[in-house]
């Protein structure tokens, strides 16, 4: 069973429908014991870092995700806001996040060389696989994935990055460490390529 963490925001059902399409059973839940009991955990999302952290805290899930999932070696996938929450701190709302991967989350610049940059980034962008990882099995390098984001992660240790993309500036698009994996792009909205990555995650043994 895969637990999809319900933090009272965002479109969680789209991730569940993608899993269903792929034939993987999942459950949307905000209960610690269900998350602890799950084989894998997905933290999906659309939302703001501040509000999301507040909701996770109110639900008592911060320690669960950090200690009982990430540090306990359970396969853990963060999507979109889920990648940002993995780091120590976000500029968005200036909040402390889960601190599972050392680093911070910053906003895209408002302009590049005097030309305004449209923020949020909304649309399909190429993803370079900067470090080989099993989750990319069968997915060609430089495939487009669907992004909706105003902020992006900067891990302290650049080797945590497994993929990068460019939006005015180069940015980290996916990170991985042991059992923890996260993408800035929406796997559930990225067509066949997104489904393939999601399927690969569901089959990874950590």
């Amino acid at each position: 069973m895969i637990a999809i963490v319900d933090y009272k925001a965002g479109n969680l059902t789209s991730v569940q429908r993608a899993l269903e399409f792929l034939g993987h059973q999942s459950e949307i839940t905000d209960r610690a014991e269900r998350i602890v009991a799950a084989d894998r955990v997905i933290l999906p999302g659309v939302g703001a870092a501040g509000a999301t952290m507040e909701n996770l805290r109110a639900l008592g899930l911060v320690e669960v995700l950090r200690d009982d999932v990430a540090r306990a070696g359970k396969p853990f996938l963060g999507i979109c806001i889920g990648i940002q929450l993995l780091l120590d701190r976000s500029e968005e709302g200036d909040v402390d996040c889960l601190g599972i991967i050392a680093g911070r989350v910053v906003r895209y610049p408002r302009s590049i060389d005097g030309r305004p940059l449209k923020v949020p980034q909304i649309g399909w962008n190429r993803v370079r696989q900067t470090r080989p990882h099993r989750v990319f099995a069968g997915v060609p390098d430089n495939t487009h994935f669907y992004f909706v984001n105003s902020y992006y992660p900067i891990p302290d240790d650049p080797s945590m990055a497994i993929a990068a993309s460019d939006y005015g500036i180069p940015f980290t698009a996916a990170v991985a460490r042991d059992n923890v994996l996260a993408t800035q792009f929406h796997l559930e909205k990225s067509g066949a390529a997104g489904l393939k990555l999601l399927d690969n995650f569901c089959r990874l043994s950590c």
Partner: protein
Amino acid sequence: MLAKRIIPCLDVRDGKVTKGVRFLKNVDVGDPVAMARYYYNEGADEIVFYDITASNERRGIMLDVVRAVAREIFIPFSVGGGLRTLEDMRSVLLAGAEKVSIDSGAVRNPALISEGARAFGSQCVVLSMQVKKTGARPDVPTGYEVVIDGGRRPTGRDALAWSLEGERLGAGELCINSIDRDGTKLGYDLEITRRISEAVSIPVIASGGAGEPAHLRDAFTIGLADAAIVASIVHYGEHPIPALKSYLKRNGVEIRDAVTLDLTPP
């Protein structure tokens, strides 16, 4: 670099696709789910459904369509047409749409934009507007006026001013539909698309008038649009999406190459 998006538009009335989509073999062209599946497999970057169902009692049918589409289409899709309240928006999003497109409802009640953005996030809220070239006058300095109710009713609002107001209120994207060009196949209205795109810092979607591949190229390179709505140009099979995409690529436009991958278990 972000790819320019091609967005097929399907008009749906009482759960059926209208506006003669009639070329496809083995596809029930009246079935919005089958059509969405077809365009998804063709490499559409997004899909938009406009619900033109007249009676309120039959609006639930569209939600069933949205639910069915969401089960098998894994790219973003939006739903517009007749959304007047926050609850209308919520039910479409809960049914599985990625975005809602609001139009006349937002003109009548601009707070719908800000309330929608607050409740669901700006990325969910597309402010769509029908614009008509009326000539410049004091209340419409660009010469492009926003019209509502299928183009029948002028609003006295300038298209550029309304775009800026929409962005300020929290719209995540703007869709600019030229009522003059709609259905003409003469190309998008590049002038107003460009003026708005240069003035706002959110994505702009060009709509109305695509008849030739070059019209899409121009929307992106001259109109500075981030995305383009296509209807009859793809519905009649003359210019399938893969052909449009290769044309645009040859012309130096950044486009998403759709990949087909084997998703069967190893």
